[in-house]
């Protein structure tokens, strides 16, 4: 606590005005003391001797004149071993521990240490006394689940330090001193296994930031092949309610080929978090063979929890992601939904009586969104290893209209756009990513020319489809009709995927490459059909076999059997491959 004294002067919703005497910094954490509880808050504006603070709790019962204590620290996350598998609220309080302390409800003013302070970790030193070290370099490791958790020189230390002493290998708690370092002037600092970092500042202790080029497999065919996401890249999923944003993120969090997944449930339903909490401990991570929960951290600020900590929750989440990236791990941050975060900004801006921008969002909305997504990245670390933070955010546009400010501001800064459409979700075509509007700047796992070919078939087919609505089937030529059927086949067997089927949902890259070749053969052929009914029957039977094929494990006997059946039908159609398609194979 600092010596600054403050008193509450006004209350408006979760914004409290404080008259203070002394020094206050912007975004400093302070506590409003009322009725025996201390309510965590953050300074968001300072004018003269008045500060406006946003309270992370309900403001009921605060009176003018209540004392306010200032901490001198910015809102920080505690970083150290033991983060994985935790379920935190937006301020990094572990929810199960809050439940032990306060029962059913999230009583205000109850705060718990984010990390277990009693637990002993097996520390192995790697640095030696005399080593010259900088922030972000590590002095030892502890095993955390399947991962080697590195113990760093705290990121906030500036300059070069000399290691004076380090403890021998052994078991230590996170707050026990394990090393002493000295700066240029000889001033000594003790190091423990955990330290705090202000969440609204990006961690930048890396050697170099690189362009994201390596594709992050999500096992969703439509994403990996057509609208891929790169490790260290960013993407957004806007969509109207009920279009399947959350299911898509949920599937990604299970199957994505990354080391660690951070889920920020920001202003959404509590029931969805409960679903993850119930399912994940039961599921195995194919990479490590351990429980999926051991690679997951959930930051959960559901819609009914206080708005100000909703704003904090996405920053807490991205800070944890950056921390694990520093260990040379690939981290995926899923934020659901960034619109709720933007609305939290809007609510506060309204209370501050700022001049509103479009739809009353604050004018700084765009720059806030941009700087959030910019915290993603693929980096080379001081020890030469590589790590990444990939950010995927859902957007919930009002009325499902993508023209609104949050969607537009997000589209400016992300590398891939997976737009969900009401039309596709109504037709139960999942994932409801609209292939006509979505785009990606990253590299596909399938050769680009093959994708281009499929895309042109799809576009042509859609054109025929919309024309057919006007002129009817009778007015459509047979060759156009076949193109239409081809695009429908591509949609049904490749774009659509059953995320509730364990085999279909987990469609690896090898399989995608394999299947797309099979599809190209069918899409790239011209057939000798006489009637539309014949063509329809042909493609219907292909579709049925293909869907069955999707449900068989890659390379299994069943897989080969189904494939042979597809080949047989294909041969029966007597198709001739066109030159362009032939070249692609």
């Amino acid at each position: 606590m600092t010596d600054t004294k403050g008193r509450v002067a006004g209350i408006n919703g979760n914004m409290v005005s404080v008259e203070f005497d002394g020094n206050v910094s912007m975004n400093e954490v302070c506590y409003v003391v009322t009725g025996g509880t201390r309510l965590k808050s953050e300074v968001i504006r300072i004018r003269g001797n008045m500060a406006q603070i946003q309270v992370y709790e309900m403001t009921k019962g605060i009176a003018a004149g209540d004392p306010v204590e200032f901490t001198g620290d910015l809102l920080s996350a505690e970083l150290g071993p033991g983060l994985l598998g935790q379920v935190y609220d937006g301020l990094q309080n572990p929810l199960p521990l809050l439940a032990q302390k306060a029962g059913w409800f999230l009583e205000r003013g109850v705060y718990v240490n984010p990390l277990d302070t009693e637990k002993k970790w097996d520390f192995t030193p790697v640095a030696r006394p005399g080593d010259r070290l900088r922030a972000g370099e590590y002095i030892g490791t502890v095993p955390e689940g399947a991962f080697t958790h590195k113990i760093f020189i705290p990121f906030y230390l500036l300059g070069t330090y000399t290691l004076k002493s380090i403890v021998p290998a052994g078991a230590y708690t996170i707050h026990e001193p394990i090393a002493v370092i000295a700066d240029e002037s000889g001033k000594e600092t003790e190091i423990t296994m955990s330290f705090r970092w202000p969440v609204k500042r990006a961690i930048n202790c890396y050697a170099e930031r690189l362009a994201p080029t390596e594709t992050m497999e999500t096992k969703v065919r439509l994403i990996d092949s057509f609208f891929p996401v790169a490790k260290g890249g960013t993407y957004c999923i806007p969509g109207p309610f009920g279009a399947g944003k959350t299911v898509l993120q949920h599937t990604t969090s299970r199957y994505a080929d990354v080391d660690i997944v951070i889920i920020a449930a920001c202003g959404e339903r509590a029931g969805e978090v409960v679903e993850t909490l119930t399912e994940f401990p039961e599921l195995t991570d194919p990479k490590t063979g351990r429980s999926l929960m051991e690679r997951t951290v959930i930051i959960c600020n559901t819609s009914s929890m206080p708005v100000a900590s909703r704003e904090a929750s996405v920053y807490t989440a991205v800070t944890l992601a950056e921390y694990y990236r520093q260990m040379g791990l690939h981290v995926l941050l899923l934020a659901d939904s960034t619109s709720r975060w933007a609305q939290a900004l809007r609510e506060m801006s309204g209370r501050l009586e700022e001049i509103p921008g479009e739809e009353a969002f604050p004018a700084y909305l765009e720059s806030y969104i941009a700087s959030f997504y910019e915290r993603a990245g693929y980096v080379r670390l001081p020890d030469g290893s590589f790590g990444s933070v990939t950010i995927g955010g859902t957007v919930s546009p009002a009325g499902g209209n993508f023209e609104e400010p949050v969607t537009q501001a997000t589209l400016k800064v992300v590398g891939a756009f997976h737009g969900l459409s009401r039309e596709r979700s109504d037709a139960r075509k999942y994932p409801a990513i609209d292939p006509l509007i979505s785009w990606s700047k990253y590299d596909s796992v399938v050769p680009e020319e093959q994708i281009e070919y499929c895309r042109s078939v799809m576009k042509h087919g859609v054109e025929v489809g919309s024309m057919m609505k006007v002129v009817g089937e009778e007015g459509t030529s047979l060759s156009d009709f076949v193109t239409y059927l081809k695009s429908e086949l591509l949609d049904a067997v490749y774009f659509q995927q059953n995320s509730f089927d364990p085999v279909d949902a987990d469609c690896g890259v090898d399989r995608q490459r394999y299947v797309i070749r099979k599809l190209l053969r069918i899409l790239g052929s011209t057939y000798n059909m006489k009637e539309k009914d014949e063509a329809r029957a042909y493609f219907n039977s292909l579709r049925q076999k293909f869907i069955d094929w999707n449900y068989t494990a890659f390379g299994s006997d069943d897989f080969k059997k189904r494939e042979a059946e597809i080949d047989e039908i294909y041969t029966s159609g007597d198709g001739k491959m066109d030159a362009e398609a032939e070249k692609l194979l």
Partner: protein
């Protein structure tokens, strides 16, 4: 200790300000005007200027009226005596019963710790086939009934209140027409459901501020019952009126509007109410059904739109029926595999055929020839609408499933239904 102030500084709409000290945020006050006493709630403090929203509204309030701060926030009395009673938004009796003052509980309390919730996995039976069979309601679910003015949504709510398998029903009426209020009272009374029902009613003629308090009163009471191991069903009508009252107050207090005049925190306001739906691990539950009328039948209007993002699906009431296509219960998958083994298959099969029927209808209206198959579909559609979709049908799920098979058998051959042969063998009427 209760301070009394005799000077009101300003009166705008239903918001008044007084100069006072030591007042707490959200504290209640009592204001005595020439028309009687009313409650008021502190909703802004700026130095010694305290703003209060007067529950009875600002009309007739004089600058010289007396304001007495009560030193506590809004509370509701909780006991089993509530059952069968009717109150207004201030918690005062609307029936002829006595006022209740014991065991006061604060309203608008904190939200439930997500780690103390359990996955929704119990079906809540309503004996309405369009709900039970096609979009099963699940204990702890929150679902709006999207509708438009003129639709029988209150009749539907009353029917659910009478038929639903819940221990306690808490009904909240917001901006209710007086006739509708009487309708609820009479229907629940005649149906024998009144003894397990508590009602908090704000009618269209009552002051706006009381409207805002209704959901909080209802949910505070529901929460207390749920913590006593009761399965509580909360029925709210109409949440659009609630949102409009929020808008009215926000505009009066010169807040910057965000979308069509609604305040920027509309989503949070609605969510903090709907998220009270819960299944407590090892205790009772709250399930919420809330009517949301869509102005102009427009689902992108801010109120239904924000609601859709919060709730777990919606029932879409149109032309006096729960429309199978616009309706969705997102949690039905959690329960409909445990009811009867033909439930899911029959649900999918019947809806698919009904959708084919709709296409046929369209074809027919354009003057196309009807094939034999089309004739079958037309017969099916008509039977489906009269025997299944009518809201007055009151049969348990199993009977509704049997009825479904009967309708299918009446119209189609076994192979035409597209349902797994194994199920057809077992359930097809002999």
């Amino acid at each position: 200790m209760n301070k009394v102030y005799n000077r009101i500084e300003s009166i705008t709409g239903s918001v008044i300000t007084v100069r006072a000290e030591g007042v707490r945020y959200n504290e209640l006050a009592e204001i005595t005007t020439r028309f009687g006493k009313s409650l008021a709630e502190v909703n802004k403090i700026d130095g010694d200027i305290v703003s209060l929203q007067v529950f009875a509204g600002g009309r007739g309030v004089s600058t010289g009226d007396e304001v007495r701060f009560l030193g506590h926030e809004m509370e509701v009395s909780f006991s089993d005596d509530l059952l069968g009673r009717i109150f207004n938004g201030s918690g005062e009796p609307r029936d002829n019963g006595p006022a209740l003052h014991e065991n006061l509980k604060p309203i608008g309390g904190p939200s439930v710790n997500p780690s103390k919730r359990i996955l929704a996995n119990r079906m809540l039976r309503t004996n309405i086939p369009m709900i039970d069979v096609f979009n099963t309601l699940v204990v702890s679910q929150k679902l709006p009934i999207f509708s438009i003015s003129g639709e029988p949504y209150n009749q539907l709510l009353a029917r659910i209140a009478m038929q639903a398998d819940a221990d306690v029903i808490v009904l909240g009426g917001m901006g209710l027409k007086y006739d509708d209020f009487l309708y609820f009272k009479e229907t629940l009374g005649n149906g024998g459901a009144l003894s397990k029902t508590v009602m908090f009613i704000h009618t269209a003629a009552d002051p706006t501020v009381e409207c805002i308090k209704i959901p909080d009163m209802v949910l505070a009471v529901a929460e207390q019952f749920a913590l006593q191991d009761k399965d509580v069903l909360v029925l709210l009508t109409d949440m659009t009126n609630f949102a409009d009252s929020l808008k009215e107050i926000a505009i009066t207090q010169e807040q910057v509007p965000s979308n069509r005049g609604y305040p920027g925190d509309l989503y949070s306001q609605l969510a903090s109410r709907y998220e009270k739906a819960v299944d407590f691990a090892g205790s009772g539950s709250i399930t919420i059904l809330a009517v949301t009328t869509m102005p102009g039948d427009d689902v992108t209007h801010p109120v239904p739109d924000n609601t859709g993002y919060i709730t777990e699906g919606q029932y879409y009431l149109k032309d006096g029926r729960i429309e199978p296509f616009g309706s969705l219960s997102r949690l039905k998958q959690n329960v409909n595999d445990k009811t009867r083994k033909d439930h899911r298959a029959l649900m999918d099969g019947m809806i698919r055929l009904y959708s084919d029927y709709k296409n046929t209808l369209e074809k027919k209206s354009m003057g196309f020839m009807m094939t034999k198959w089309d004739e079958k579909l037309l017969k099916y559609g008509e039977l489906f609408e009269t025997k299944m979709m009518d809201l007055s049908i009151n049969i348990p799920l199993e009977q509704a499933l049997d009825l479904g098979w009967e309708i299918l058998a009446d119209c189609f051959e076994k192979s035409e239904t597209g349902i797994k042969s194994e199920l057809i063998e077992e359930f097809w009427p002999k």
